[in-house]
Assembly symmetry: C2
Homo-oligomer: 311 residues x 2
Amino acid sequence: MAGSGPIAELDWIAVDWGTSTLRVWAIDKDGAVLAKASSDEGMRSLMPGDYEPTLLRIAGDWIGDAREEPVCVIVCGMAGAEQGWTEAAYRTVPCAPLAGGRMTPVRTCDARLSVSIVPGLCQADPADVMRGEETQLAGLLARVAGDDVTVCMPGTHSKWVRIEAGCVTGFKTIMTGELFSVIASHTILRHSVASQGGSAEVFLGAVRDMLDRPDELTAALFSIRASDILDGTCPEDACSRLSGLLIGAELAATRTKWEEGPIHLVGAGQLAAAYATALESAGARPIVEDAETLTLAGLVQACAMMRDYAP
Amino acid sequence: MAGSGPIAELDWIAVDWGTSTLRVWAIDKDGAVLAKASSDEGMRSLMPGDYEPTLLRIAGDWIGDAREEPVCVIVCGMAGAEQGWTEAAYRTVPCAPLAGGRMTPVRTCDARLSVSIVPGLCQADPADVMRGEETQLAGLLARVAGDDVTVCMPGTHSKWVRIEAGCVTGFKTIMTGELFSVIASHTILRHSVASQGGSAEVFLGAVRDMLDRPDELTAALFSIRASDILDGTCPEDACSRLSGLLIGAELAATRTKWEEGPIHLVGAGQLAAAYATALESAGARPIVEDAETLTLAGLVQACAMMRDYAP
C-alpha cells in the first residue's frame, strides 16, 4: 500500500474514486501496474478540500520530490460529481464512452500533480446519468472490438447500457442495490432479513415471481415479513428472497435488453454471480467481465487519449 | 385531554394502540364518547412494562378510585403484537373481523383495569397479517349492512381487503407508505425530494406511468434523481412523483380488486385524498370512509360482543 517510497518507473497514476471506495494504481509507460492501493475514503465521506490530501496520503510516496514535470493523474467516478472534488460536466449520449478533449482539469496545491477527471455521461430522455461506468465501458469496447453490445453493470445503482458502433446510444439506471440496502436496514423487514443470503432456490423462485408478475413487487416485499411472523422463515432465506425480488424486478424492467442477445455482465464476486444465475435462469446469456480490469483498461485509454489530444 | 378528573358516566374505555400513535376514548353505556385523548406513545416507543403506566397516565383520571368492579378496556392494534403489551394470537381468514370469545386478556397491576386485546387476522397463503384494521373492518361492516365489499386501507402498510357475507375472505398488504418514507429519507433521492408534494398533474402522471408499465418502478425511481441533476426538477414535484409512482405501483398490484366495483377507502386527510384522486383517475369508484369513526365503531362492537359472550 502507501509508504513504499518513490517509484522510478512511475509514468502516471490511475484513480477510480467512487461513492464509497477509492482505488489508485501506479502505472508505467507501457500501461503496466507498478503498485496499487485502496481505501474506504469514498466521495460520500469527503469534502472538496479533502481529495488532494487523501490522494497524497495514499499515493504521494510513489511520486517522490524531484520531478521535471508534474505526474499525470486520471480520475474517474463520483469525484467528478457536483459534491465531489471538481465537477466534470456530463457528456450527452449518443457518444463514445470517452473523449480525449473533454477531460476536466483540477486545480491542486501540490505542483507535482496534474489531475484530470473523466466526465460522466447523461441522457436527456428519459433523464439518466452515470459517473465511472463510462470508463469501464471504454475498457469493454477495446475487448469486444467494436461489436454492438448490451451491458449490465450491477451495483448500488445498476446500469443497463447499449453500445452501437462504438457509441453509448442509451442507458437505464435501476436502484436495485440501494433499495436492497434501505429495505433490509430501515423497514419492518429488518427484523426478518439476515445480512447473508441462504438458499439459491429461494433466490431464483423470487426472480421468477417478479418476471411473471412484476406489478407484485411492493406487495411481495411485505410477505417476507408475514412469512417470518407466521412460519418463522429462516432469515438467510428471507435475505435471498428480498435479493431475488429486487434483481427479478430489475430483469423485468430490462427484459427487451437481455432477451435479444448476449449480455456483458460487469462485476465481481457474489453480486456478479447472483446476476449471472438470475440471468441464466431467465434464459439470457451473461458473459461475466471483471469490473476492476475494465476500469483500469478504460483509465489507460483515457490517459492515452488525453495525451494524444494535448501532447 | 388527561387530568379532567373522574367521569361518572364512564362505562368502558376504547383504545387504538398503533405502531406510532395511541388513541383513547371514554365511552358511556350507550356507546357515546364522553372524552378522548391521544399521544405519540405508540408500540414502537414502548417496552411491554410501559403500556399500563402509559394508559393510566392518559386515562387514569377518568376512572376514579372507588369502583365496584374494574373498568373494561378494549384495545386494538399493534399493542397485541409479539413485541407489544400482550400477544393476541391471530385469527385465520376466512372469518368475521371480530369474535367475542377470542379477545386476549391482559394481566394488569392496577385492579381497576380489566384489559382485553382484539386479535389481528392472518392469511396462510400468501402469508399476510393485520392488526387494528380488523376492528375498522367490523365498523365498516355495520355501515354497509352485509354487502360484499372491497376495502382499501392506505398507510405505512396499506391493506386491500375482500369481505363477503360478513367474512374477511382475503387480504393483501403493500408497503407503500414505508417505502415512500425510506426512499425519501435514506436513498440518494433524499437530495431531490421535498417533504411536501407539489403538482397534482405530476402525481397523476406518475400513477399513470405505473399502471401502464408497473415493471418500470425501480428504474423510474432513479429518474427522479437524474431529472433533478439534469433539469433541476422542483423538490415538491419530485415528492409528488415519488408518491405517484408508489401509489401507482399499489394500484397496479391490485387492479383486479378496483376494476370490478366500488372501493371503500378507509383513511383521512391528504393521504385518503391522494388515493381517491389516483383511484378516480384510473377509472375506479372510491367511497371515502373516515378511519377513526370506523375504529371506534369497531371497538364498540368488540366490547358488546365480549359482554354477550361472557356476561
